[in-house]
Amino acid sequence: MSQIELAPPVAPDWHRWRDGLFSGWANGLVTLATLAAMLWLALPFFRWAVVDAVWSGTSADCATETAGACWAFVGAKFRFMLFAFFPPPLQWRPALVLTLITALLTVSALPRFWSFRLVPVWLLALVVIWLLMAGTAGMEPVSTNHWGGLPITLTVSIAGLAFAFPIALLLALARQSDMGIVRCLAIAFIEVLRGVPMIAVLYVAMLIVPMALPSGAAIDKLLRAQIGVTLFFSAYLAEVIRAGLQVIPSGQKEAALSLGLSRIQMLRLVVLPQALIAVIPAIVNLSIGIVLNTSLLAVIGIYDLLNAAKTSATDPIWLGFYSEAYIFAALVYFAICFTGSRYSLWLERKLNASNRR
């Protein structure tokens, strides 16, 4: 007997809401109580953030009894929170860096542009970013001490990911290698870095490394932090890539070898293209983690977005508007990470769809 498959009937939206929230008197009571609690919490916040807020003016306008949130503070400190100590006359340079990063991220996010040509493009972009920030022939040099704000947050994350990737790839391959010593070293590296918090890695980079160097040699503070971040994430990324490598059935590898491909050709042509595509969503998730983790750079005195926002509230003229500063930073982080996580979901669906095809 043949059966006709019918899509299950879908109730209209409001039906589902009603059934979910008010299916019985107890359930309805819980719903109402939750709503009341939300209003009770949200109304004072709304009052503070919108109704009583001071949108423009000076800190004196915010000091009145009735004043709520001081968004005028964010207006006055907007430049500092975004670019920190970068000299104001030269701030078109970090602004250009932000534009460049946004444009490249957008292009790289679309699967239609995925190809190995993106690798040299990104490496070139990192060089351009570095030249724009540090200055080069014709542009006034700016010491890394003056870099800060959002460009630091984004550049450290992106450079961290870019440099961690080859290291992670080698680590992941080494961990599967059948040379005992190489495998042990890779496992030791990965497990040690995954076993300590990132803040410990940063402290080592900040405090121990300069003392271990011969006298007179000095590595730039930001570079030391960047190396720390890179090594830390290479360990996590290695595990993500290893998961991808394990997806590839060993039959494919054996087939490739028996066709006369060298081991490197086998990796390059057969294993990696499939393994890496499989773990792209996981890498996007890890990248979101990197962006959020860069806020730890604040503890070693680097002015990332969060530290710049916090510091802007220590200006005696605008003293103590910490809530506004943190809300601003939170919104920027949220915008970046929410975009990233939605993208990751979309990508997962898209990749799953193309796999099933």
Binding site: R79, A84, P210, A217, I219, V299, T311, D315, I317
Partner: protein, 347 residues
């Protein structure tokens, strides 16, 4: 065999590339020498600062401002006759001493407390104390107390894990009065306790209390008592081993103190150039013999006062009465006015 060979070659290459990269990234600066030589060769003084409102904080354009920052600029004037040849870098309390030790900074102007163990065990030299801080008491004005002793039976908030807890207990034991300590972990709660009347007073380093007072809902209802329960002398710190650099730091600070004692300010300094007082003539370099004898620009003190002002001006501009911090001079005024600031003679 073959397989192992290519494998190994891949890794050898990778390791060689990494090593070459690392070697390239390590910028070898000139060999360690005297700090002052390095500063002169570099053309800029590297100063480590903290972030406390009024003492060191960036303004909206990202330029460092504050009490300690002005001393950094004064030192740049002594060395280069240019207040801008100084680079300030923020350093957290945990990393500032190692950073000074490793040569990342030439001087710390980050409010380091001078202690005997830091001098002996860590090998630091301290310049003259530029700010006499200490544990203070922030009390509600309507209690009508003017001294810590009068807080008999009061409830006092302390932040946990600080030396403040021990100091306040010692203080009350010494005075024979009773008090109830309320230990509070988090800064926001600490302030709320006073705001809500849960405690009568808060105790912590006076510089911190002055900044926190501004965040209370009605700052003017509270007063920071002039009394100090502990000694926190904040002084510039440098690495041991460069006496000349230390002297430059010393006499830069003394110049600001001496200028205040003479009554020389940023605005009236030029009228003092005509003074007949030989001490003032030597101080301002009208008589250049002193500067020539010590190997500094004879007009260094003049340049400092002309650019950043005397000690009192630096104090009032950054943390004094007109500012949000509203600090009393207290111990931080010249000995002639009953404070602890005393400059050795310029002769």
């Amino acid at each position: 065999m073959q397989r192992h060979f290519t494998h190994r070659k891949l890794f050898t290459k990778a390791f060689a590339a990494t090593a070459a990269l690392a070697a390239g990234l390590i910028a070898t600066s000139a060999l360690a020498g005297e700090t002052l030589d390095k500063i002169k060769a570099r053309g800029v003084i590297k100063v480590g600062v903290g972030t406390t409102p009024g003492f060191f904080s960036p303004d909206s354009s990202g330029r460092w401002q504050g009490f300690f920052v002005d001393f950094g600029r004064a030192i740049a004037i002594t060395v280069f006759n240019d207040a801008e040849k100084v680079e300030f870098t923020n350093s957290s309390p945990q990393q500032r001493l190692p950073a000074l030790q490793s040569g990342e900074f030439d001087i710390l102007l980050s409010g380091v407390t001078q202690t005997v163990s830091r001098a002996f065990k860590l090998g630091f030299h301290f310049g003259p104390v530029v700010f006499y801080d200490g544990q203070g008491l922030l009390v509600r004005k309507d209690l009508g107390v003017s001294k810590g002793e009068e807080l008999d039976g009061a409830t006092i908030g302390v932040q946990s894990g600080t030396t403040g807890e021990l100091n306040i207990a010692d203080f009350f034991r010494k005075t024979g009065k009773a008090f109830t300590p309320v230990t509070i972990e988090e800064t926001g709660e600490f302030l709320k306790a006073l705001d809500s009347g849960r405690v009568d007073a808060l105790t912590q380093d006076a510089t911190d209390l002055a900044a926190k007072r501004t965040q209370l809902s009605k700052p003017d209802d509270y007063v920071l008592l002039p009394e100090r329960l502990s000694k926190e002398p904040l002084a510039p710190a440098i690495r041991a081993g460069d006496d000349q650099w230390l002297e430059i730091v010393n006499w830069t600070v003394y110049a600001t103190i001496q200028a205040e004692e003479f009554g020389i300010t940023k605005d009236n300094v030029d009228t003092f150039l005509k003074s007949e007082d030989p001490a003032i003539k030597r101080f301002l370099g009208v008589d250049p013999s002193l500067g020539e004898a010590i190997g500094l620009d004879p007009k260094f003190a003049y340049n400092i006062v002309k650019t950043v002002g005397n000690y009192g001006e630096i104090f009032e501009r950054n943390v004094g009465k007109g500012t949000a911090l509203n600090f009393e001079r207290g111990y931080n005024q010249p000995w002639t006015a009953g404070g602890l600031l005393y400059s050795p003679p310029f002769r």
